[in-house]
Symmetry: C2
Subunit: 330 residues, 2 copies
Amino acid sequence: MKRGSAPTMKDVAREAGVALGTVSKVFNNGSVGEEYRQRVLEAAKRLGYQVNSYARGLKTNRTYAVAVVLPNIINPFFSVLAQNLCQALTKRGYRMFLSITDFDPEAEQRYIHMAQQNQVDGIIGLTYNPDLQVADKVPFVSFDRYVSPDVPCVASDNFGGGQLAAKKLVELGCKRLLFLRIGSTVAGESDKRRDGFEAFCRGMGVEHDTLYLRDSDGYGPFRDFLQAHIHQGRLDYDGIFCCTDVLTLEIQKMLSELEVHVPQDVQLIGFDGTAIHMGREPDCSTIVQPIPLLAETCVDILLKEDKSDLPSLICLPVSYAPGGTTRDGA
Amino acid sequence: MKRGSAPTMKDVAREAGVALGTVSKVFNNGSVGEEYRQRVLEAAKRLGYQVNSYARGLKTNRTYAVAVVLPNIINPFFSVLAQNLCQALTKRGYRMFLSITDFDPEAEQRYIHMAQQNQVDGIIGLTYNPDLQVADKVPFVSFDRYVSPDVPCVASDNFGGGQLAAKKLVELGCKRLLFLRIGSTVAGESDKRRDGFEAFCRGMGVEHDTLYLRDSDGYGPFRDFLQAHIHQGRLDYDGIFCCTDVLTLEIQKMLSELEVHVPQDVQLIGFDGTAIHMGREPDCSTIVQPIPLLAETCVDILLKEDKSDLPSLICLPVSYAPGGTTRDGA
DNA sequence: TTGTAAGCGTTATCAC
DNA sequence: GTGATAACGCTTACAA
């Protein structure tokens, strides 16, 4: 053993007085005589030996590492997702190598490239690059976004969630509904929240409007819209479905400034339910995404050996949770 | 090139009609004739070649990967820290491999082991295992916790922060102060928040009390304590320093239920200021930890070539930010 | 400047 | 069941 550098299998073999191959077998659950196995294990412990996973990876082409590419982990939804992905991977003996893109399409592409170069066993990505190039050499699962026909996409049942939100509001007595959304210009699964909402309203003949903003617009237009729809102190709408919980809180704040009372004058339902997965009470009444299940599903699909019959879209069920912004007691 | 598997340098060499070593030099900025370089680059592009970093790592013993070990990334402080660490590492050409311990000392030890086995170039850990074993083979930087004499620890100036909080409250007119803390039983740098607070109060002759809970106690005792210290509708204290912003919000909620008004009747200062690093308004008046700087510092120290003159504790400066729970306008 | 060849620490294939 | 030996894809002397 060269001084200063870590011990290798060779060192262990010499220390234990066995052949190199025998040591390898011990660390790979091969069949080895019990006496030899003990000798090897003891020698390894004496030397403080650890398998060099890079050498192993070079040989086996499996690295037990998965790259996760996310816009950030500051947004609670992303951080809870990241945490659940990490745990799901760990449970299966994989390590998570995390990249933060800050919504930059070029960074997304760069990280995907890097990940491939680093021989990861797979990539899970939540990306906004409409023409993302992903080599089909390494398995890829996309979260909430369609990438290409052979890239499976995992998402919540956004359409169903939109329907559910509208249905709940109607059940809670609302007569005139509003859908509020702010987000990326890039098309994604979550756009279907609106589709589901409108489908339900149309189907039931419920009056409804929609305000659809892009991130760059900021919240200002929401305030203007709400203000313009207050007549004699009353808001024209008695039920609002917001595309995220974060937006719901923001709208609630605006309404409070406009002296419209939640949930007496108007009831609010958001989307995500992240707080629930953080062990907290929900911040608002909301459609809950099954984040732990989403994470497990991403990982399962990614690591599935048989890539032949991959579905191209997997929608997971959402649920409703009251949280103070509707008139169904928490 | 064997069909189905990725192209290697050998394939590129053959395709370009040059020797293997030449290809290697091209990808390592060695000196290669311009004509050869072009030939190699083109051949590489044609084949879609990417350097296999595992093979490279095996040879060079540098993997450009750093393990980050955190209790979770759901707590906003940790998630902002993780994000900043990730960015600091990326900036320097390193990848972040994240482990979530959920405060489990055994998991901490396990991940440290794993990280070493995976030949990372270093480990940054925020751990609660009082007798963590970390091989001195791989560089380790500890966040907020003393591990051993030769493991550098990076933390905010918690003592100074405690003093600053007390000083601010006194400047804002408080006469009788209270320090509230809940946290781990494991000793850490953040315990010094109390020390600094008390040192200031003693030095200035300010009346003060302290309530020091462990996580397992829950928030209940705080409520009892506050209730017991309300006489004729007035709280005995007019200034409270809470050990985190999360606790501050919790206390604020309790006080509101007890009909004590913040900041009129009592002023609150928290610790962390995480919201500021998320681009939000602070949730409460607070002592702000310089999270981006903390992350940069961890990474700088970890990757420092010359390990000879490592300080054992690096304290970074904190600052005060008003946020509505004190009587200095936001 | 370019090519050759010897490893890096494993795993895997064989003879034994 | 055990032990040589040849890869794996790359870097790096060293020779040409």
